[in-house]
Amino acid sequence: MSTAAALAPALPVPDSPARVAARRLLAHRSAMVGLALCVLFVAVAAAAPLISPVSPIATDWSAIRQAPSWAHWMGTDELGRDELARVIFGARASLLAGVVSVLIAAAIGVPAGLAAGFARGMTDTLLSRIVDAMLAIPFLVLAIALAAFLGPNLRNAMIAIGVTTAPIFMRVARGATMDVMTYDYIEAARAVGNPAWRVAVRHVMPNIFPPILVQGTLSIATSIIAEASLSFLGLGEQPPTPAWGSMLNAAQQFLTQAPWLAIFPGAAIFLTVLGFNLLGDGLRDALDPRGI
């Protein structure tokens, strides 16, 4: 009754789960540090031409392998190029590889996992076998072979990493789907007569989003390392475009003469990956209903 309603004490309206998670994330200190690092490197990559002191491919034969100085804050490399500029521009290859690879992996793995978890039976068995087989092969061997097959450049490295990371997304999506399938309202949606695909897309998929997001963030971290590994082996971005991994590869030869060439790109990889790892951990903690 309206009088009863007017006299009832005002109950707080519960926040949506997304709000709750976001609030917890913002309160999580290390996740914020991670977020700051991620934002920093994304900004560096995006604004590279504006913040870089010089061009990363401008060579200078008279300034080979110079130690860090006021003229070159991170020194120069084996062709006289400014190392700071190369580290800044190198962020582009790494971040692009990180994000795009994960998008590819998710685009392949999530539908597969959804299908496997939803349909079960033969579909599940077949897809799970394929995923098991892919996971049983050393990741780098698979990635190298794919990158060699497609031709070494950044785009193909991203495809190679995306394809080899897809099985993990499949597993996560499958597990989450099977979990969600036990929810009552999914049963209800099916009982009402919704076609399977609609149930899958409109009801199941939004619910498996949280673990996928967490996995996505963590996979960006591993993809950045994977891209660095591939370009370390000569299978990534083509010279003279800078990429942190290939810079490390070149730096190996000059370890004693020019150690700064090995230190700076590696530190850049470390900080970027750390940022995504912290963020991913924070997301996991924020989205975990147990609050651990």
Binding site: S30, R129, I130, D132, A133, M134, L135, A136, I137, P138, F139, L140, V141, L142, I144, A145, L146, A148, F149, G151, A221, I225, A228, S229, F232, L233, L248, A251, Q252, L255, T256, P259, A262, I263, P265, G266, I269, F270, V273, L274, N277, L278, D281, I292
Partner: protein, 315 residues
């Protein structure tokens, strides 16, 4: 239980079969002619290159080549390295122990670093200790192994001269030198695993510490450390042990870059070099063996989990 075990074992063969097909297919797709690589300095002799291709059956249709390989495998013959003329099985026997030694040492590092950090982080939750432990754990996860390896060679071998930069020696030959040459790559490898172990120890500990029996122990007046060590830890180690077996499998198949940087003659280096040399029999054989090990370790892990926690049902 028996049905579960039976079905898991039955799954091994199709998985391995799929593995071999995937790898075989990839090899065929890769550009590069093994005959040219084998010819080496004589690659300029086209008649010779054609002859080599013939001898290696590279001109036959792909399914025929695959079936020929499969037939050999079923008779226990993993083929011969094209580059070295050495049986692949022999190469695996020589190099698997090296990677195994590296992996075991890496795992020890991981346990020694990860587990105490995890316990510390759980017991001293949300204090500076928690931050420190997390930091050390995350360090291992975020640092690229090949970079850590390069930096360690620079600092420890070149600047300080404490350890040799390379030159593996088998344990049985000279255990001192063997350890000296493997401690750095093992540490580098173990770092990443330490972080994962730390995390799982931490969550398992947190769950265990919240259990009733722990509260009871505390209520009885037992000191905190007794509570931790005697009661919670035992239960917390279960997922750690089972996870550990899995990570060991990942280590065995994935020490690739570390072995490259430190020139450790293990399985990882063997297979990567084989990819670059287009030594197909070695790639096929080694991947098959490591896949088998990985699958077996997975099976053992799942069995352990099943045995320890009968409430868990398969599926």
């Amino acid at each position: 239980m028996r049905g579960y075990l039976g079905s898991r074992i039955a799954q091994i063969l199709p998985t391995l079969f799929l593995v071999s097909i995937i790898v075989f297919g990839l090899q065929q797709l890769m550009p590069g002619d093994p005959a040219l690589v084998i010819a080496g300095e004589s690659a300029g002799d086209p008649a010779l290159v054609a002859q080599i291709r013939n001898e290696l059956m590279l001109n036959r249709p792909v399914p025929v080549q695959y079936l020929h390989w499969l037939d050999n495998v079923l008779h226990g013959n993993l083929g011969y390295s094209w580059r070295l003329q050495e049986p692949v099985m022999q190469l695996v026997e020589q190099k698997l122990p090296v990677t195994a030694q590296l992996s075991v040492m890496a795992f020890l590092f991981a346990v020694v670093i990860g587990v105490p950090m995890g316990i510390l982080s759980a017991v001293k939750r949300n204090t500076a200790w928690d931050w420190l432990a997390n930091g050390i754990g995350l360090f291992g996860l975020s640092i690229p192994t090949f970079w850590l390896g390069i930096v360690m060679i620079l600092v420890v071998s070149v600047w300080l001269g404490w350890l040799p930069p390379s030159g593996y020696v088998p344990l049985t030959q000279n255990w001192v030198r063997s350890l000296a040459t493997t401690v750095m790559p093992a540490f580098v490898l173990g770092n990443a695993i330490a972080a994962i172990l730390m995390r799982h120890t931490r969550s398992a500990m947190l769950v265990a510490l919240g259990q009733d029996y722990v509260r009871t122990a505390r209520a009885k007046g037992l000191s905190e450390w007794v509570v931790v060590l005697r009661h919670a830890l035992r239960n917390a180690l279960i997922p750690v042990v089972t996870l550990g077996a899995l990570q060991l499998g990942a280590l065995l198949s994935g020490a690739v870059l570390t072995e490259q940087v430190f020139s450790v003659p293990g399985i990882g280096k063997l297979v990567v070099d084989a990819v670059f040399n287009r030594d197909y029999p070695v790639i096929q054989g080694v991947v098959l063996v490591t896949a088998l090990l990985y699958v077996l370790l997975n099976l053992i892990t799942d069995l352990l989990y099943f045995l320890i926690n009968p409430r868990m049902h398969a599926g």
